[in-house]
Symmetry: C2
Subunit: 406 residues, 2 copies
């Protein structure tokens, strides 16, 4: 885990095997519906054995997938029992998009024998191409039949688009009074198919006994400092969705604080996996701004650095280019005194109080030539800090996204 990333207090957190079916009360499956031209699995289902407390967050893009709108509507009562995910077609900017999203939820509901309103929907993939809804509804009986408590990995696989591997994590958390629960999650990272766009889908499960309101509070808190602090290309998707389902099956649940810590850790881990698998990426850049007046200002400054193309190209080249870091911070709209700023690359101070520090360039380059490059800036204004993760900008990223893919 990257320093400064995820919960600072990791007491009682233990990584365990498995994905979304690790917590009690959940089954999952992934099958081939035939939407992906590759013939790979493309229909995932996660189902709780009984109605679960649920919270969701979806994209803030004004151009929004109808799946996001339906998921918000269906989770508004704080309860859901299943998440159906189709990959290979985002069903965005399509004729009959809303109708097809409703049909997806209805089909899953029918075969699971639950009300439509307890099914959430996530769709990812190409946009602007009509969804072949019949292929998915035809495959629905199979995916329901295949649901199992071992099915987490199959579901994680079926939600991918151009991700190079599945992203899963599970942790057990215990508290001082012997309470325990499991929190798990799966994500698909930024991927691109045809005229598609970056999309992020996440499903979290826990056996902790949350209600809808508390689930929402826990989810919002964790996302704020994890998924909302990563950037691969600065382009916000139309389909971003995250859902947390809580089965309440834990026999002796821990404190809410411990559960929240576990949700935070799971989000932090998945978010890091997403950035590390960013298109064309060879390294993660972890930008930590300290000494800011407020956490919001620290985040703004760190985000400006993490989304700068010049900084991201310098991370690729393991170049301790601190001038670009100062330049990027100067565009963030946050007041600070450049003469109080110090900058570290790979943990080594390269700029002190706004001017070059004396450092061994080869040594810094070596400290940056690693899978995770830590960039730090202290602005000398206060005590607040924030970390934003990005990946390096590579020629492969451009080649991948310039390809005439249709």
């Amino acid at each position: 885990m990257i320093a400064g990333w995820g919960p600072t207090d990791r007491d009682g957190l233990t990584p365990i095997e498995g994905g979304v079916t690790a917590p009690g009360g959940f089954r999952a499956a992934g099958v081939v519906s035939g939407v992906k031209p590759s013939g790979k699995p493309d229909l995932a289902l996660v189902a709780a054995e009984a109605p679960a407390a649920a919270a969701v967050m979806t994209t803030t893009n004004l151009v929004t997938a109808s799946s996001c709108e339906l998921t918000q509507r269906h989770a508004a009562d704080g309860q859901a029992q299943a998440v159906v995910i189709n990959a290979g077609n985002a069903n965005v900017c399509t004729p009959n998009g809303e109708e097809h999203t409703r049909a997806l939820a209805a089909s899953a509901a029918e075969h699971l024998d639950v009300p439509d309103r307890d099914v959430l929907v996530m769709s990812t993939g190409v946009i602007g191409v009509p969804l072949p809804i019949d292929r998915i509804t035809d495959a629905m009986p199979t995916v329901v039949t295949e649901l199992s408590t071992d099915g987490g990995h199959a579901a994680a696989e079926a939600m991918l688009t151009t991700d190079t591997h599945t992203k899963e994590v599970a942790v057990e958390v215990t508290d001082a009074r012997g309470g325990r629960c499991v929190v798990a999650g799966m994500a698909k990272g930024v991927g691109m198919i045809e005229p598609a766009m970056a999309t992020l889908l996440v499903v979290l499960t826990t056996d902790a006994p949350l209600n809808g309101t508390i689930a929402r509070r826990v989810l919002t808190g964790a996302v704020r400092s994890t998924f909302n602090r990563i950037s691969v290309d600065g382009d916000g998707s139309t389909s971003d969705s995250i859902a947390l389902l809580a089965s309440g099956r834990a026999e002796q649940p821990p404190s809410l604080e411990a559960t929240g810590r576990a949700v935070h850790a799971v989000c932090a881990d998945l978010a890091e996996q997403v950035v590390a698998d960013g298109e064309g990426a060879t390294r993660v850049g972890a930008v930590t701004v300290t000494g800011a007046a407020t956490e919001a200002e620290a985040e703004k400054l760190a985000r400006a650095v993490a989304t700068s193309l010049l900084v991201r190209a310098a991370i690729h080249g393991a170049d301790p280019n601190w001038g670009r870091i100062l330049m990027a911070m100067g565009t963030a709209g946050v007041a600070f005194d450049p003469r109080r700023v110090s900058v570290t690359c790979g943990g080594i101070t390269v700029c002190r109080f706004g001017v070059a520090a004396s450092f061994d360039r080869g040594q810094v380059a070596a400290a940056m030539d690693r899978p995770v490059v830590e960039l730090g800036a202290d602005v000398g204004s206060g005590d607040a800090s924030a970390t934003v993760l990005t990946c390096d900008l590579t020629p492969e990223y451009v080649r991948f996204n310039a390809e005439y893919t249709t």
Copy 2:
């Protein structure tokens, strides 16, 4: 000239030969001072024969070059007589930076025999490295001696960093009543040296008889819709500077409106040259948003499209990826109805009312495989429009900026 770019009324505008010395009353020169390791010319001087009306605009980056601060101070009275430009070292984040900037102005002033406060300074190049001020002051007598009315091109050359060629333009404008003047300019485009950052320097000259207040109004108006509507990498420089000097030497000057039109045309032309020479660029992308409620909203939407990495990669690949255009507009913070949006690529409609239009993909790709790719989006909200220029994102951009250059 790109459709929608520059003044819509081009009456009486005629391109003429030459650069900043084309208008009467200006001399210029460029020499080698030895700051650039390459030994190329790196010290430019533009001087009016008498005090000229002057207006300047400099970077909004909070980390600001001391040259920008001095230039603002010296132009505050609406008058200047010379612009001295050193390339190869931006003198930003350096010890004694302010002192060296003052020394630069004082040295030019001494050899030109004008007051210090009538000299503007622009510096560009590596940041964080102390400026070898002595080399520049040693070369000052030479550059003053070499000033000539033919020296515009030499000055344009000496202000470059990694630009591949000089950027110059001159136009003559006449009005219906027989008034005429000349407006000219030179720019250096985005370039990178060592731990430097994108910088844009522009000097405009005219023989029109403006005063400081009017010069400022004309300059602000032209920059607003030209230099402030281009983007190469979204990274704002610490050193951006533009100065307009007006000698008043035109014998029968045209209307202020005609002069403003000429300044606008010169800015539009130079801004286009800057984008076309963007690092690694192979094409210009001209993003025009029409049908917006206000021009400010049109500009925001066009900027969101023009700065999207995914759109810029699609421009590189001549890929009519309209989904990315809608996605980028959805992140702009401007309200619109996606179901009313139509999108054109290379002039061909690819999305109508938010869903795919029927189009021949090969034909659109061919229309995009050109030096200037025109992307249009009509949002159906009103009558306002704006164009923002960018360049394509290429693997060469990344390679260039990832290089370990120090």
